[in-house]
Symmetry: C2
Subunit: 339 residues, 2 copies
Amino acid sequence: MRSQHVTIKDIANELGFSVSTVSRALKNHPDISEETKRLVNELAEHLRYTPNPIALSLKNRSSSMIGVIVPEVVHYFFATVISGIEDVAERNGYSLMLMQSSEQLSKEVTAVANVMKGRVDGVLASVSKQTNTYEHFQKLMDEHIPLVFFDRVADDVDTTHITVDDFGGAYSATKHLIGQGCKNIVHFAGPQNRKIFRDRLNGYRQALENNGLFFKPELVVAADTLDKGAFETQRLLAQGVVFDAIFAVNDFTAAGAMRALKEAKKAIPQDVALVGFGDESITLMLEPNFSSVHQSGYEMGQKAMEHLLMQIHSEDKLPTEQVVLPAELVIRESSMRLS
Amino acid sequence: MRSQHVTIKDIANELGFSVSTVSRALKNHPDISEETKRLVNELAEHLRYTPNPIALSLKNRSSSMIGVIVPEVVHYFFATVISGIEDVAERNGYSLMLMQSSEQLSKEVTAVANVMKGRVDGVLASVSKQTNTYEHFQKLMDEHIPLVFFDRVADDVDTTHITVDDFGGAYSATKHLIGQGCKNIVHFAGPQNRKIFRDRLNGYRQALENNGLFFKPELVVAADTLDKGAFETQRLLAQGVVFDAIFAVNDFTAAGAMRALKEAKKAIPQDVALVGFGDESITLMLEPNFSSVHQSGYEMGQKAMEHLLMQIHSEDKLPTEQVVLPAELVIRESSMRLS
DNA sequence: TTATCGACCGCAAACGATTGCGAGAACGTT
DNA sequence: AACGTTCTCGCAATCGTTTGCGGTCGATAA
C-alpha cells in the first residue's frame, strides 16, 4: 500500500493548465503570468505538493544520495565519522545510504555493487579488515563515480584519502613517555596488513630511535582488544619482562592492560605509564584517566564529505589528495610521572 | 561528471531490436524467441548492463529504501540497532537511508519531511529527547507510509512499537538489590516525558512496593549522564542522605556514580551496591564490573525491520503491535553482596 | 485459396518532472 | 493593411523501464 502523492499533473488538471505551465509557474519562470503563478502556487500549497525526488533523479541523472560503506557501525569511531558525514551531507541537501561490510570482503563487494547501479552521486568508504583486493573499488573508479576513502584506505586505488596522522600520533605518544623517564616501552600493536597499524608501530619506533632508545622487537606484542591487552600484560609480567610503559594501539587494549596492571598491584603511572590511541570515552571512565592520542572521527567525516562534494560538483576529475588530520596527544594521569 | 551507464536502449540499438523486446528478453518473457533472448543476454552481460534502480523506482512507485531516523548514531545502543536493521534490510534487498535528529525536534521534523517526499518505502524511527509533539509522524501515517517505532516510541501515534521491557528490567534490577539486603535504593531517573524512562521508574517503584519497602520520592533523582551521576552522588553523600544502593537509568550514569563513590571511599557493593541499565561495554571495563540490565539493540533492529517489511508487503493496513523484548538482568560484582 | 492461429516483435503510454520550440492572441509600428 | 513584438502558454521529447495491445509473417487447417 503506497500513498497517493499529489503531482504536477493533479494541479494542472484542477486548474486546466498544462503540466509544463504548472512546472514553470512553480519555478517562477518569466514566461508565466503573475496571475497564473498565484493560482498554481496557492493550489500547490493547499494540496501540499512536493516534487517527486525520484522523478527528478531520473531526469537529472543525480540522486542526491551518498553511499557510505563502513566496516561496523557499532565502532564508536566509525559512528562519529558517520555523524560528521551526515551533518555535512544534510547541510548540503544530500542523504546517506548506509551499508556495512561487517569486516567481510564479500559484503563489501556487494555493497559496492549496490552502489554502482547508479543510485548514488558518490561514495565514502572505509575498507574491511579482510579486504586484500581492490578490484571492486577500481570498478567504481572506472565508472567515474566519485570516491573518497577515510581512515582505512585502499592504498592501490588512486583517489582522495582522509586519514589521521597515525605515525605522528604514535611518535608523540612515545616521545611523551620517554620524556617522562620511561626506558622500556611496550607497544601493543594491531594487524600489520593495515597501513594505519604499521604507521603507529613506525611512529613508536622512530620516536625511540630519535630519542636515544633502542627498538627492541621483544617489546612489540600483537594485541588489539581488551582481552588480549589484559592477557599479554599478564604474560609480560609473568615472564619477568622489564617494562615501565605501555603504548597501546587502541584504547580498549590499553584498558585491558590497565586491568591486568591493577590486578598485579602495579602503580600507574609510577610503575608502568600508559598511553592509548583513539581517545574514546573510556579514557575518562577508568581510573586513573588515561592518556590517549585524540583522533576526531567527526572531523574526519566532515572532511571526507566535503572532499566528496567537491568532486561531485566539479566538471572534470580533480587531482587526488591525501588529507592527513592531526592526531593530538591528550595527556592524563596514566602517564604523568613528573610533576 | 556522471558515469554513462549502459541502458536497455543501448542494447536495443546495438542489436536492432526495440527496447520492449530487450526488456522482455531480459525477463525471460515467453513471447520472445530463444535466439533473441540469447543475443540480448549475451550482450547485456558483455556490456555489464544493470537496470537503473531509479527508473524502476519511478515505474514501480517503490524505492526499496527504508528511512531510519535515530537521535544519535554515536550511542552504542543505537549503533547496534542500526546494525540489526541493516542486516535484515540487506537480506531482503532493501537499502537504508540514515538520518539523525541529534536529539533536536527541528532536525527530526526535517528528516520526516525528507522521507515523506516519497523517497522511501517505509520508516523506522526513534524519537529525540526534545520531541514533545508528534504531528510530523502523524503526517507520515496520514500519507500511509509504513512506520515502526523502536525504543523511544511516540505514544500517541497508532503504529507498531518495538521496545524492551523497561518496566520488567527495572523491576528485576531493583528486586535483585532488595534480595541483596539493600534497604534504601536510589534511582537515578531519566526525563519523564519519555515513556521508557517512566517505565523504568515505575518498575523500580513496583519492585519496592511488592517487596516490603516504601517508595521514597527523595531517593529518586534526575540524572542521566556520567557527569550528573557523579555530581548527584556527591550531593547525596554530602547531604547525608542514607542509601545503600543505586539503580541508574543507564550505564553512563552508573559509571559516574561509581566514580563519585570511589572518590568518597565507599566500598562497592558493600557500602553501596550498583546496577545500571543497557549493559554497554563499559560495564566490563570498570572495576568492579557492574551489573546492568541487558537490552539487545541488534535484536530490536531486526524485529523492527521485520515488522516494517510485513507492513510494506501487506496490501492493507495491519493491526498495530506492541512488541516488548525481554530485558535481562546481568549480575556482576557491583551488586553481589552475598556470597 | 482463404481463414485461423501461434510465434514473435514493435508502438505507445505510463511513472513525474523539465525544457526547447512553436503557436496563438493582442498590441504597436510603419 | 501588413508586419513585427511581446506575452502566455501547450506540445512533445526526454530520463530508463515496463506492459497492454496490436501487427506481421509463416504455417496449418478448411
